[in-house]
């Protein structure tokens, strides 16, 4: 069995890969509030315009965001809303893990 031969597993992996970059996650976080112009990302991120554009393309191709051109500007919006719930859950787990590490350290100290 090689999971790379399974189309559904492969496509699902692509979606996760698209999300798994700090800049792209930050973009998703911002889009949770509503559509945002690319120009706003360019203003707020310390990265080349071209880099930001490529991150947006990755999200678009994975079906996570969509965009709309209005005049000279392009506005992106979040298409896959269920992602927000999952991010909350992941962050819950991250916090739990940190707390349990802390408890282990405290046990050693006592």
């Amino acid at each position: 069995m090689n999971p790379k031969d399974n189309i559904l597993i492969n496509e699902t992996a692509k979606v996760f890969k698209a999300i798994s970059h700090p800049t792209r996650l930050w973009i998703i976080d911002q889009l949770a509030k509503g559509e945002i112009c690319v120009c706003v990302f360019n203003e707020n991120l310390d990265a080349d315009f071209s880099t930001i554009s490529k991150h947006l393309t990755v999200l678009k191709e994975a079906g996570i965001v969509d965009f709309e051109k209005r005049g000279k500007q392009v506005f992106y919006n979040l298409k896959m809303d269920c992602i927000l719930n999952f991010i909350l859950c992941v962050r819950g787990t991250i916090k739990d893990n940190i707390v349990s590490k802390l408890n282990q350290i405290e046990k050693l100290e006592v």
Copy 2:
């Protein structure tokens, strides 16, 4: 603003990165049914034992799975259960996207 400096965003990205590999997604799918011995993965996957072991380590370090040693064997189990809901949602989106592509093609043909 550089999202790479944000600890929570970074840790969240690591979790997504850990999931975003076909073999690791397949492992997660299998673990949905309950704990599984590494030996079963070794039997069912066309990959070197060391490769499989490294995939399991990635999942463990991301806090997605946990393991227990019993005798000579090691059993892995799913720790972050909310992942299953999100995988379902992602697959729903993948199917929707395929359907809408199909509709676009059909419109062209008519």
